[in-house]
Symmetry: C2
Subunit: 305 residues, 2 copies
């Protein structure tokens, strides 16, 4: 196979785009996909102050590398989840990555917040991936708001987005469907949230990191095994194999034709968002989900003494 | 495993219902599912005159058997598609089935209509399954309207319905999504269309036929190989295997939460339905799809002379 752009021998085959690229044209292809994703969905501009949520994995580091190269005003934040054998090496990768590129970085330790993930797993009676996601969303938003950032960017790729879309669709969860997409506007105490990598597959961001020499954290989270989204990813991979490009079409079709239907339904029964009475984070309860977790941990930890 | 109802040894395991039944309790389970499907979606009543679309396969014959046993006013219609080695044995099964049960039956020969499926396949430049479906829908509706029936019933099962729902969802086809379900009301020249078997899987209708001694046509259509809906069925089977019951939940969730969203969107841009200027069948063009097929066949057949 020849590179689509320069006709050199292709190094990366992209069946979903019915094409292939040599190393340097592939890097350019990825960067153009990010640019297209930013522009087509108006994610942010050069005037924005962008906080990058950096886990240390391929997606977030590729995002940071590309946005920095493009000249956007970026600053990193890493949450140290406190998971043995997993969190320390992830944090090291982020710190080394940012230091090498002159990207400023804040690290928030969940252990210092009383929310180390192993403690949450022990005391909270709900799937740990879901509890961890709730904590991360809240702390990232807090860091963005407190730091005066206008945008919070996460590394979610097309596989993340389509597997979540699939899970929401299988359940016909109108509230989630109304809100899914590469850009969630600011409002009600939430900063604008964006996903600049939304057009790229997991394979594409991994190949980008490999070919750019980005040293990322590879270990899967030790708690994620058997999570339903991994099953949905496998299922969508089968769909993509049968019809290359179908994953992107599914997501683009949703943005163009599907989402509006759910937004109209949701607009008819709006959900009141108020500040948490304790920490001020926006919530639809008196206490936000993270404060309720803190209470549950204090309560069960207390009863064990 | 024991039968859930009578504690005899189970003969049929139903993971999606987390249960199993002996032979006679399974037959009762299936009939109750049909009853529940009719009542919950108000498909028809004992006052309706119901035309049964009978292909000769397991689903349509199981439907006819069950509705007849329940005492509904039913009459059969079979379309002889004119496909060599396939249509004649299917027709024989339907004729023998109806004769044995005293169900009155009409047979429409597509060859007499100038629409034998091999001829259509040769002259029409679109996927044959789609063209065949268009022809069948139109002729069934014509037979129902001309015969003074209030309802047209087809044997579509849960696997048919969920694979179609999945295909429509993957494309976010709002017009199709607004109209999908076990009951499409009468209007604009269309008779009410119902799918009484919508709660039952393919496996369940096949087991019902086997255990009731219903002799049905088994051969797959020789033209259906590689059709996209067969791929979607395999994909949904994988989903069901991971989470038994998920297919029914996907469909029920759509009926309860999903469909309304698409109906609202469609109601904002209604599509004008008018009678075909030649045959009178309802259409959104001057000529209906089947009359256009007849013209295309006449045109290309003429050019070959």
């Amino acid at each position: 196979m020849k590179c689509k752009r320069c006709k050199a021998t292709a190094a990366v085959a992209l069946p979903s785009h019915h094409t292939g690229f040599c190393d340097s044209c592939f890097l350019e292809f990825v960067e153009r996909q990010v640019e297209k994703g930013i522009r087509s969905q108006r994610l942010f501009s050069y005037d924005d102050r962008i906080l990058l949520a950096l886990s240390g994995g391929k997606d977030s580091l590729a995002m940071a590398h590309i946005l920095r190269r493009m000249g956007y005003c970026v600053h990193g934040v890493h949450l140290d989840l406190g998971i043995p054998d997993s969190s320390a090496p992830a944090r090291e990768k982020v710190e080394a990555f940012c230091a090498a590129r002159g990207i400023t970085l804040d690290v928030v330790e969940l252990a210092e917040e009383g929310l180390a993930i192993p403690l949450v797993k022990e005391h909270i009676n709900r799937p740990i991936c879901s509890a961890c996601g709730t904590i991360k969303r809240q702390l990232f938003n807090r860091e963005a708001v407190d730091g005066g950032f206008t945008v919070l960017a996460t590394g979610h790729n097309l596989d993340d987005e389509t597997s979540r879309l699939f899970a929401n669709t299988i359940r016909w969860d109108a509230a989630q469907l109304a809100d899914q997409g590469p850009m969630l506007p600011a409002g009600n105490g939430f900063v604008r949230k964006v996903k600049p990598m939304w057009r790229l597959s997991e394979f594409e961001t991994a190949a980008y990191c490999f070919l750019s020499g980005i040293d990322y954290h590879m270990g899967a989270c030790p708690y994620s095994r058997g999570a339903s989204f991994t099953g949905h990813k496998a299922l969508l991979a089968g769909l993509e194999e049968n019809s290359p490009g179908q994953k992107l079409q599914f997501y683009l079709g949703f943005l163009e034709f599907g989402r509006q239907a759910f937004r109209q339904v949701q607009a008819q029964s709006p959900c009141a968002i108020i500040p948490c009475s304790r920490c001020g984070h926006p919530t639809n309860n008196e206490l936000c989900a993270v404060c309720r977790m803190r209470d549950a941990i204090a309560c069960t930890a207390g009863s064990l003494m």
